[in-house]
């Protein structure tokens, strides 16, 4: 791999990578059985530099912010490289957000340029508030022939451009950046009142890349299957920067149907993949179903082989041996799989054990956007499914104010910790104290240095799909509800648990004096709840009989209200499912 200590910016490192491995494949993009494109590093360069030049001719300059809203595909990475080459700042947005949320984040980030897939662009143009969008240029990918691209009011031409036609022939200017310059603004979550844009520097990314690849190296020939959204810190690192600075390849799928993901393993001989617990669970479910369909004698033999593999790999993974013993299983994964990475939410130890016993190590990790990506990762020395692994090289982890059991708030200090939250100095000061990132997660370091997590100090939940959800953001959909007042909480914040299970949001309702909870109110709650994306929905409600404590400026004192509810109500009795 490249020696990243020598580089000041992602643009510089990627530029050298493209020159160092010109004939190696860097990108494969597939859609179902079709392969849309396959690029070598040289071809990638030839696709990106004309775009970089075209951007510069449109007024793009050092520090220009460029938002990307695309599904995982080759144009995402080509666009990102063009931005870094020209010294710009990337604003990668989650394509799964609603158009309204996209508009909010585009406004908050003050992006000057937007690169977006056609269907997402159409959705944006049909959203209330679109006329207030302020970007100077919009580049739309994959617009069908004859597509109407008007409506980009704020641009000079009043219409969006076709991304594919934005190519200029002159060599673009490479714009160097310093390590401490911002490379990207990544929104960890929070799209309601307080978007949280993490400003990550070139150093943050370069250091994170070195830390991760020291444990899980990439090299030419390695293939990483990218299914997490590339805007996500994990995929951006292990599905772009990591493989590219090592001469490896990234495989994108345009559909994430489980059957096509399974097929991609064998079709493309995948080496690594990152995934969230929900997808891992789905893979487990699929495998278990296939095992259950085997004739009894084959199932018997398989179970014996799994037990044998488990015994022989107790101390460490033995890939060659596992591939020999459980050949059929490994062939179904393409025969080249070395490890899966899982993080972003709680993963059941039993699921991790299931895969480990098959000889497929799943490295469980812990990280957050504010810390660059991963903070800890299981190094399988030995396999510890009950933990989220040990701190990566260069990461200092400590527990603040541990209780008698050693449990307290996890704090992180490293060169990967973000510079600040965009335009939120107070929040930054609360979050990074004396160089230590206060994660809001409760954990304990065991005597071997492994981190165990026990839930969250913050009023926040993380879904099985790895999404952070702040209850405060959900409240807007319930505005105007026929009640005196209401408030959304993470149930585990109201009733803290020593575990990371049963995470759900609850709506606390204070009814108008003398009013009862009616069927009409319930119907209204259900209807409003449905307007939220499925993973953001409230799971139940609580009727609260007292007025909410409020500040002088009438803001709800959430901490105090939570304490009162905790003291007076029992979760099992109080929460009525919606």
């Amino acid at each position: 791999m490249l020696d990243l200590r020598q580089y000041a910016s992602l643009g510089g490192a990627l530029r050298d990578a493209l020159e160092r491995w010109p004939n190696e494949t860097c990108l494969i993009e597939a859609d179902r059985e079709r392969e849309n494109c396959r690029l070598t590093y040289r071809q990638f360069r030839e696709a990106a530099l004309p775009l970089a030049r075209a951007l510069q001719e449109m007024g793009f300059a050092q520090g220009s912010r460029v938002a990307i809203i695309m599904t995982n595909q080759s144009k995402w990475l080509i666009s990102a490289y063009a931005v870094f080459y020209g010294g710009g700042v990337l604003v990668p947005l989650d394509y799964k957000l609603t158009p309204r949320e996209h508009l909010q984040l585009l406004a908050h980030s003050e992006a000057r340029f937007l690169m977006v897939e056609y269907h997402l662009w159409r959705a944006l143009t049909q959203t209330v508030g679109f006329q207030h969008l302020r970007v100077e240029e919009v580049l739309v990918t994959e617009a069908p022939p004859g597509a109407d691209l008007t409506g980009a009011h704020s641009t000079s031409s009043g219409q969006a451009r076709r991304w594919e036609e934005c190519r200029a022939s002159r060599e673009p200017d490479f714009v160097p950046r310093d390590r401490t310059d911002p490379a990207a603004i990544v929104y960890s979550s929070g799209t309601g009142g307080q978007p949280k844009g993490c400003v990550l520097t070139h150093e943050n990314y370069l250091e994170q890349c070195m830390a991760l690849t020291s444990l899980y190296p990439f090299w030419p020939g390695v293939r990483y299957l990218s299914i997490l959204p590339t805007n996500h810190a994990i995929d951006f690192m292990v599905g772009f920067i990591g493989p590219f600075t090592c001469g490896a390849a990234v495989v994108h799928l345009r559909t994430l149907r489980p059957e096509y993901v399974r097929d991609a393993f064998s079709r493309y001989k995948i080496t690594y993949m990152s995934l969230v617990p929900m997808v891992l669970k789905n893979l487990e479910r699929g495998l278990r179903a296939r095992f259950a369909e085997l004739p009894w004698h084959r199932r018997f033999i398989l179970n014996r082989l799994i037990a044998l593999n488990r015994r022989l790999t107790r101390k460490r993974p033995r890939l060659a041996l596992s591939r020999l013993l459980l050949r059929g299983v490994h062939q179904a994964f393409g025969g080249e799989l070395r490890a899966l990475f899982v993080g972003g939410a709680f993963t059941e130890p039993a699921t991790l054990q299931f895969f480990y016993d098959l000889g497929i190590p799943v490295s469980n990790g812990y990280g957050l956007t504010e810390a660059g990506t991963a903070v800890t990762l299981d190094d399988f020395n030995p396999f510890r499914p009950d933990t989220v692994g040990k701190p990566l090289p260069g990461m200092e982890v400590r527990i603040i104010a541990p209780d008698a059991d050693g449990i307290g708030e996890v704090a992180v200090r490293s060169k990967t910790v973000m510079s600040h939250y965009l335009d939120q100095p107070e929040l930054t000061a609360e979050t990074i104290v004396d160089g230590w990132l206060q994660t809001g997660d409760l954990g304990r370091l065991d005597p071997t240095g492994h981190l165990q997590l026990f839930g969250r100090k913050k009023n926040m939940i993380v879904t099985a799909g790895g999404k952070n959800i702040y209850p405060e953001d959900i409240e807007t959909v319930f505005e105007g509800l026929a009640v005196k007042e209401f408030c959304v909480f993470a149930a585990n914040y109201l009733w803290p648990q020593r575990g990371r299970v049963r995470e759900q949001l609850v709506l606390v309702l204070r009814l108008e004096a003398g009013k009862k909870f009616t069927d009409a109110l319930r119907a209204d709650l259900v209807a409003r709840n449905r307007r939220l994306l499925d993973f953001k929905r409230v799971g139940g409600y609580v009727i609260w009989e007292r007025d909410f404590p409020r500040t002088a400026s009438l803001k709800i004192k959430r901490n105090l209200l939570a304490e009162e509810i905790r003291d007076r109500l029992d979760r099992a009795d109080a929460v009525v499912p919606l």
């Binding site: 179902r32 599904t71 394509y95 799964k96 609603t98 269907h119 997402l120 345009r254 559909t255 994430l256 149907r257 489980p258 059957e259 929900m278 997808v279 789905n282 099985a464 799909g465 449905r530 994306l533 499925d534 993973f535």
Partner: protein, 80 residues
């Protein structure tokens, strides 16, 4: 050419078969995540089954923000 109501009925039947519930238990306005207790990955599996049945291709993004059978049927209808 199917009507939207016919498409909707076929969607409901296929969903009932795929997730092994009685057709009568499902109504057009049902939130299928809640009603069937499925996650988004399982919803994508249903999409493949619907593609095969209707002989069309439905990009994953067609499921984005969709959680009830009627809207899903309308998206399918627009591609028939």
């Amino acid at each position: 050419m199917r009507t939207t109501e016919q498409t909707l009925e076929e969607v409901l039947k296929l969903a009932a078969t795929h997730f092994k519930v009685a057709r009568e238990q499902l109504t057009p306005g049902d939130d299928f995540f809640q009603k069937l207790g499925i996650d988004s990955m399982q919803a994508l599996e249903l999409l493949t089954r619907l593609e095969n049945h209707f002989g069309i291709e439905l990009p994953d993004y067609e499921m984005q923000g969709v959680s009830d059978f009627r809207t899903l049927a309308e998206r399918i209808q627009s591609r028939l």
